[in-house]
Amino acid sequence: MTQQRKAVALISGGLDSMLAAKTVMEQGIHVEGINFFTGFCVEGHTHAIRDKDRAKPKRNNALWVAEQLGIKLHIVDVIEEYKKVLINPKHGYGAHLNPCLDCKIFMVNRAKQWLAENQFDFIITGEVIGQRPMSQRKNTMPIIAKQSGADDLLLRPLCAKNLPETLPEREGWIDRDKLHDITGRSRKPQMAMAAQFGIDDYSQPAGGCCFLVDKNYTAKLVDLWQAQGSKDYELDDVMLLKVGRHIRPAAHFKLIVAREEGEGRFLQGYKKEYTSLLATSHNGPLVLLDGEASAEDLFLAAQITARFGQGREAEHVDVAITDKDGLERVVTVTPIPKAQFPKEWYI
């Protein structure tokens, strides 16, 4: 009796990894999925926070793909380990702070560790030569295989015919003739394959599924690093960069202004870690202050808080300032006039 071979598939939630897994499953291989959470994955966080989006929460595409394929999915928290990838990528960044090549090497390496721990035989990815400008090129494919340590245990079913044979092909676990030779950025071959498999619902996120390719998000991350004088972060930093307006009136402090009630509720959860401000004489947003602020800075923060509430045209607005220990005092301010609020303060 032949041994049942097992493969672990990197499942991003997009179409390519779904098709890669399906292609290998069709050859009788037992496949399970693995998905890595770096903290920067786009998983509907703003939908979860903002009131206007809460009625239509986004599905987790990786879970959804696994369910469509009928396979198990292992979601792995790599937030801490991922820091060294993002902070010091050997192969550099893409257009923004996306360390795509290092990221792929990291994930394949983690999948290889998982393989050894769970007695699986090889790794599958949905990579396609030429699909992405930084990480999916003809010359990066061997780099990923080599530097991840996966070497010939890494099978890319969608473009395998354009690459050297891998162990599962050589050993006859996989029939190379039934693999594919897709290249380039066109999505047509994948869409045709999806139709063949009867897959008609799939995620195709523009620009990928990572906040690190988002210009506005990465500007806030760069600002955070500049303000703290080092390239480091905690998960809470990463989450807060997704919420509210970020305003930096001075190098040593910034304000996070809730844009609506859901964001305000989310920021409430951080009142023990940050000084917070809230207008009490008029309706207005909750504001968190990140940094060390003098009495003068707090007064300016109160004026800005007043500007974002219904008292923006009022002569005086009362603003409660609450420190991390819950001590509250109320100051009366005039909302900062528009002319004194430079656009450059917005991060």
Binding site: F37, A48, P57, R59, N60, L63, E67, K72, L73, G269
Partner: protein, 75 residues
């Protein structure tokens, strides 16, 4: 069979799913786990995770911006 509770308040998906997955690894088949969170995404993500991993959702409800899933660990 034992009852357990997991607090995932303030965490955003997929972290509540990851915490649930890690907690379930330490439980026995038939054990019951109540997951409480503030991300409405858990209402679909945890049941989806249960379906693909062979666990059973016994109950789900929400009130006051909190969401609760009760699941029974499968074999």
């Amino acid at each position: 069979m034992t009852q357990h509770t997991l607090n995932t308040r303030r965490l955003l998906c997929p972290l509540p799913v990851i915490r649930t997955q890690d907690k379930v690894k330490s439980l026995q088949p038939g054990d019951v786990l109540e997951v409480v969170g503030t991300d409405p995404g858990i209402m679909q993500d945890i049941p989806a995770w249960c379906r693909i991993n062979g666990h059973k959702v016994l109950d789900s409800h929400s009130a006051d911006h909190e969401y609760v899933i009760v699941l029974e660990v499968g074999a």
